[in-house]
Every structure is written in structure tokens, then in C-alpha cells.
Amino acid sequence: MNQFVTLFVGGLFLGAIYALVALGFVTIFRATGVINFAQGSVLLLGAYVIGRLHDSIGFWPAVAAGILVAAAASVLVDVVLIRRARAADLGTLAILTLGVNILLSTELTRQIGTDVLSIGAPWGSDVVEVAGIRVPASRVIAGGVALVLVAALGVAVKFTDWGVAMRSAAEDGETASLMGIRLNRVAAGAWALAGGLAAVGGLFLTSFPAAGVTPDAGLVALAAIPAVVLGGFDSPAGAVVGGLIIGVVSVLCAGYQDELSFLGRGIGTTAPYVVMLLVLLVRPSGLFGTREVTRV
């Protein structure tokens, strides 16, 4: 039983990180309707900046730098590319971000090379023990940060001007702009926010118990896709719930690999997608996504 609880709790904390990455996807999708395939390489970029700079300027300044750079890169993608092709259909835009992903990740892989960059977090490999369950300190902090960010975002979206502008732009862009909302500003804000979230997610994904910043870190964004889908592509709450579910599923499948071996080995990578498929069959727009209504 203790094992199950350890795994479950571990999965929840991992899921919190996935939730951050998923939230990034959802933010961009809600504001501009684009699936941003470049999210993975932006995540890697943020982590890379922190990894390279923490030695010279200290950990916390490096984190700030990483978040800024990732946000800026994200906005750059929006301003330089997406805006130009705004009129194109969404499939084209998604593939455009894919092209950007290839460029960015090739360059980052080249820079990282054989290095395993340590992220330099002050909490190192410390472990926290609560009620007999040992969880890495970095994961507890990740969970805490995720909670704070999600709450702050929720409050901001509901109660601030900017939040209202975001929601109205997502609801009906044309009317919103007629009412004086600068769509371009809203979009840039959403992309910057997504970049920042990716950087934070990247920071925690490359902390203990992972080894450090390696080119594979960018692949995590791929793992967050089932989370986004099963939560509902346009629902922040869905992204959070989806992230948590996927985190728990991955860790449980790994932990019980022996018992599940009749399904074949290595079920941990496939399980999130199977869960996603099952959820979609029951709720075709994800758990919290807006259901498509056809007006005749």
C-alpha cells in the first residue's frame, strides 16, 4: 500500500509539471487557435539558458533570464511568423511552428552537444519525508509553484482587464476588436505567457530526479499532448487535470510494469495515449473542452 501511495504522490507531482506545459499549449490555442509545436524547443531553450548561466550569475537571476528568453522567443515566433501568415488555415500554422521547432531544436542540440548540463538548483537532490513517503524536494517545490501559478492565472483571467481581454478575444475575435481590444497585444501576451510557463516546466523537468539539461528534454512537450487533449484543448482547468492524470498514469505504469507485463513491456509510453483515446470516446471534446455545437 505504501508503494502505491508513493507512486501516486510521485505521479501527482510529475503531473503538476506536465500541467504547466499543457497550460502553455492551451493558452496559445485559446488566444490564437494555433497548436504550437514549437513549445518543446522553447522549453528546452529556457532550461538551456538557466543551465548555462547559473554558474556565472547565480541560480535565481538565471531562472529569471531563462523565463524572459523563453517568453521572448515565443513572442518572436508569433510576431515574425504567425502574424504574417494569419490568414492561412490552422493546419498551415501548426506545421509552420513545426518548422520552427526543427530549427530551434537542431541549434540547441548542437549547443548542448555531449554535455549533461546541471540546472544548478539550490535544492539539489534533497528529499522531503511526509508520513513515511519520500518525495524529492524539487518535485514538492514544482507542485507548489504550479499551484501558485495556476491559481494566479485563474484569478488574473477572471478579474483583471487583461484576463477579460483574453477571454473575449478567444470567444469572438471580431467583436472583441470592435470593442477596442487590441488582438495583437492579446496574442503576444498569450504567447509570452506560454513561453514563460514552458521555461518553468523545463526548469523542473531537468531538476532532480532527472539528470540535467539534455536534448531529450524537448520531447517532454510530446508527452504533454495527451494531457492537453484529454483535458480539452481550450480549457485551462482541463490542462491541469489532464496533466495530473497523465503524470499518475505514467508513474503507476512504470511502477507496476511487472504486473502489467502481459500487455507487453514498456507500456508506460503508450498508456497515456490509450487513456486519452478512452476519455475521448466517452467525452469527445475532452473532459472540459467546449462541446461543438452545430447550428443549422
Binding site: 508513493t6 510521485g10 537532490s125 524529492p136 512504470a254 510494469q257 509510453t269
Partner: protein, 419 residues
């Protein structure tokens, strides 16, 4: 009029087509120069070797490190006069770890090379084998899986992952108190590397009544929390590791944090000195061992020290690695031996090089590969011995060898099966 035009055009085209075809593939062309029979890839002044590393895909860092080692060896060799009075040239093509690219790249170079000095990756090698076998090419395989055996054309640098695993279990029982009836965890990559190692560990486990607790992962898995929890639940007394450095750091770190204080023994590819800069360094220094045919860089044998000083001269900012640059250096030694013997036999054709390779029965690489290599039996790996090393902060390359290369008694009964 248009009908006339039509037929004239067709006839003209047919004539043009007939005028200049590419001619037959000049595969069997041989000629003699200076009393030595030469074939494709060898002329009077040069010998050309093909290199197919991964320079832009998943294994790009390894691939690049390998090219460093290869260039190091061949440049020195050429300065000393080359082989058979000929300069050795390298044709390098990136495969991107993509079988499609690899096949295309191979097609491009196959007409001009005498053999393949390095091919990185089992899926790549699998894709190329049909053509390689047809063209009698020698292939230096940058990998240590026995799945590829038996094969006339393939040379492996030492022994294979399954034998490494058998040696690992022998080491654990001998020196770390693992007894009959105990459980050992095995964390391994999906694919030829991990699953080949698993074959060996299952064999040894069967011989000693040990239980193997399997955990299969992929390179994208960087968090070993679930896996360690499963190992802890099964009460493992040791863990075998057949994956890559990022997973190693995660495994050691999480195991330490969950108070699973057991020795971890890894195959060669499971180590890089940079792991000593990660938060898991302390855990690795306490519990991590590496079993491999490739020498740890701290070994004092001539071959290794020569490599190390040459590397540090040429790449002062680089990091030498046992299964990257040292591997390619050792692979070049193997190719050198085969080419030199072929030269002695006055036959620098592809078949000649292959025959020369298969006649080598005790190649001493000066310690870069454990023991001596015997290529006469294509169904067995050429090496039998392995180095066992412990992680050490002060040793160059981060590994300190625990004594002379050795061989586990179990390994002698191991049957490579063939696939």
C-alpha cells in the same frame, strides 16, 4: 503534320536514350598496382574507408565524438606513412539515425569505398546488411549487440552487451554478496542494446537461481521514480543498467533518495564523465560500476595512454569518452589490422580485406579493448574479456578500473544462438 512531328520526336528521344547509359556498375573491376591486387576503394596512392555515424540525430553527440577518435587515428597513421604505402582517406556521411537516410547515404558512397570503417546503430546496420553482404564489404559496427551475429562482414570491438551482463552478475555475486535466490533489477532500453543485455542477465540468472526484475524504458524517460519504486518493492539486492547517462543519473539519485542502497552495474554506454557534475554525483560515486570491453581512460596500458595524450593535444577543450572517441580509435585499429594484413596478402579488394579480417586471431589493441581479439569465428564476438570499473572523482574519464580485464566462468557456456 503533327503526326509527323510526333513520330520524329519519339524516334529522336529513343536515340538519345540509347546514346549514353550509365554503363554497368563497376563492381568487380580489379587491377594490379605494384603487385597488389586492388578493387573499388583502393588505388595506387589511396585507400578510402566509408564512415556512417549519426551526426544530427539522437546519437549525434556520440557520433561526433567518434569522428574525433577516427580522425585522430588516421591522421597519425597517414603521417607515419599510411597503409601499404597508401594514404587512408575517409568518406563521411551523416545518417541522422534514420534508416532511409542511411540507405541513401550508403548508396552514394558504396562504389568508392573498400569497406565501412564505422556504422552507428543497429537499425541502421540492419537496413544496410543486405547490400553490404552482396558487395562483400567489411563493416565496423559501432555497437555491441550480439543480435547481429553470426555475420561474415561485421566486426565488433570486443565482446557484446549480453556477455557484459553475465560478467556483471558474476561480479555482483563475487564481490557484493548477491546470493542464490536473490532478486536483481534490470533497467534497460527498448531496442537492441537493452534487450541484448537482458538476454545475458536472464542467462546468468537462470544459472544461479536469481530473479530478474525487468523495467523497460525508452530514451524519452528521464524520471526513474516509478522504476525505483518497483525495484524497492521487489527487494532487489542490485541493479543492472542498460540505458544512457541521463537515466543513470536519475536512477542513482532516486535510489539514494528512496534509501535503496544497492550497487548499480552498467554496460559501457551507460557512463559519461559529465555525470559527475549532476546532483546525482554523490550517489554515483557510492554505488555505480561499469562493465565494458572498452577501456576506462585511467587504464595505464600503452594504447590507451597514447590515445589520451593525442586527444588532449588535438582537442584541448573536448571530453574524451570510452564509447565515443576511444571506440572509433579502437575501430580504426581493427580496420588498420585488416587492411595491413590484406596488403601483406597482396589483395586489397573488398573480399581480400574481409578474408584478412577473418584470419586475425589475436589482435592486441594496446589495451583500448580488453584482451586480444579473435575474428576467425563470425558467429562469436571477437572479444571475451571485460574491464570492470568504479566511478571515481579523480580518475581521468571518471572511472577507475578494478584490476585486470577478466572473464566470468559463466560466459564460457553462453550460446549466442544466432538470429
Amino acid at each position: 503534320m503533327s503526326r509527323c512531328l510526333f513520330s520524329i520526336t519519339v524516334v529522336a528521344l529513343a536515340l538519345a536514350v540509347g546514346a549514353c547509359g550509365k554503363g554497368g556498375d563497376d563492381d568487380g573491376g580489379t587491377s594490379a598496382s605494384g603487385g597488389v591486387k586492388t578493387g573499388p576503394g583502393a588505388t595506387a596512392d589511396t585507400i578510402t574507408l566509408g564512415y556512417l555515424p549519426d551526426l544530427s540525430g539522437v546519437f549525434a553527440p556520440n557520433g561526433k565524438a567518434m569522428m574525433e577518435g577516427a580522425n585522430l587515428y588516421w591522421d597519425a597513421k597517414n603521417k607515419a606513412g599510411g597503409i601499404c604505402g597508401r594514404e587512408v582517406k575517409l568518406t563521411v556521411q551523416d545518417t541522422g539515425y534514420d534508416p532511409q537516410k542511411a540507405v541513401a547515404a550508403y548508396q552514394q558512397m558504396s562504389g568508392d569505398v573498400i569497406g565501412l570503417g564505422l556504422v552507428l546503430g543497429s537499425p541502421i546496420t540492419s537496413a544496410l546488411l543486405p547490400s553490404v553482404e552482396k558487395q562483400d564489404m567489411f563493416l565496423n559496427f559501432a555497437g555491441w549487440t550480439s543480435d547481429i551475429l553470426p555475420n561474415e562482414n561485421v566486426a565488433i570491438a570486443g565482446t557484446t552487451y549480453d556477455v557484459e551482463a553475465i560478467n556483471a552478475i558474476d561480479f555482483l555475486m563475487d564481490k557484493h554478496g548477491v546470493k542464490s535466490g536473490d532478486s536483481i533489477g534490470h533497467l534497460y532500453f527498448e531496442g537492441d542494446y537493452g534487450e541484448n543485455a537482458l538476454k545475458g542477465s536472464k542467462f546468468a540468472a537462470g544459472k544461479h537461481d536469481l530473479k530478474i526484475v525487468e523495467q523497460k524504458i525508452t530514451p524519452a524517460d528521464t524520471d526513474m521514480t516509478g522504476q525505483v519504486a518497483a525495484f524497492k518493492r521487489a527487494g532487489v539486492k542490485a541493479i543492472l543498467f542498460s540505458a544512457a547517462p541521463p537515466q543513470a543519473a536519475s536512477l542513482a539519485g532516486v535510489a539514494a533518495s528512496q534509501k535503496l542502497d544497492v550497487p548499480i552495474v552498467a554496460n559501457g554506454p551507460g557512463w559519461t564523465p559529465q555525470l559527475l557534475t549532476t546532483p546525482a554525483a554523490k550517489a554515483l560515486i557510492a554505488n555505480y560500476y561499469v562493465v565494458s570491453s572498452m577501456a576506462p581512460l585511467s587504464v595505464q596500458d600503452d594504447g590507451v595512454q597514447e590515445f589520451l595524450s593525442a586527444y588532449q593535444d588535438r582537442y584541448p577543450k573536448g571530453t574524451p569518452s570510452s564509447n565515443g572517441s576511444l571506440y572509433a580509435y579502437a575501430g580504426a585499429q581493427i580496420a588498420d589490422a585488416a587492411l595491413a594484413k590484406a596488403c601483406d596478402d597482396k589483395d586489397l579488394t573488398r573480399k581480400g580485406v574481409l578474408d584478412a579480417l577473418r584470419s586475425i586471431d589475436s589482435l592486441d589493441t594496446g589495451g583500448t579493448i580488453a584482451g586480444t581479439l579473435d575474428f576467425t569465428d563470425p558467429s562469436k564476438p571477437p572479444g571475451k574479456l571485460v574491464y570492470i570499473a568504479k566511478v571515481s572523482k579523480d580518475a581521468p574519464g571518471g572511472l577507475e578500473s578494478l584490476g585486470e580485464p577478466s572473464e566470468a566462468p559463466d560466459a564460457q557456456d553462453y550460446d549466442f544462438g544466432g538470429s
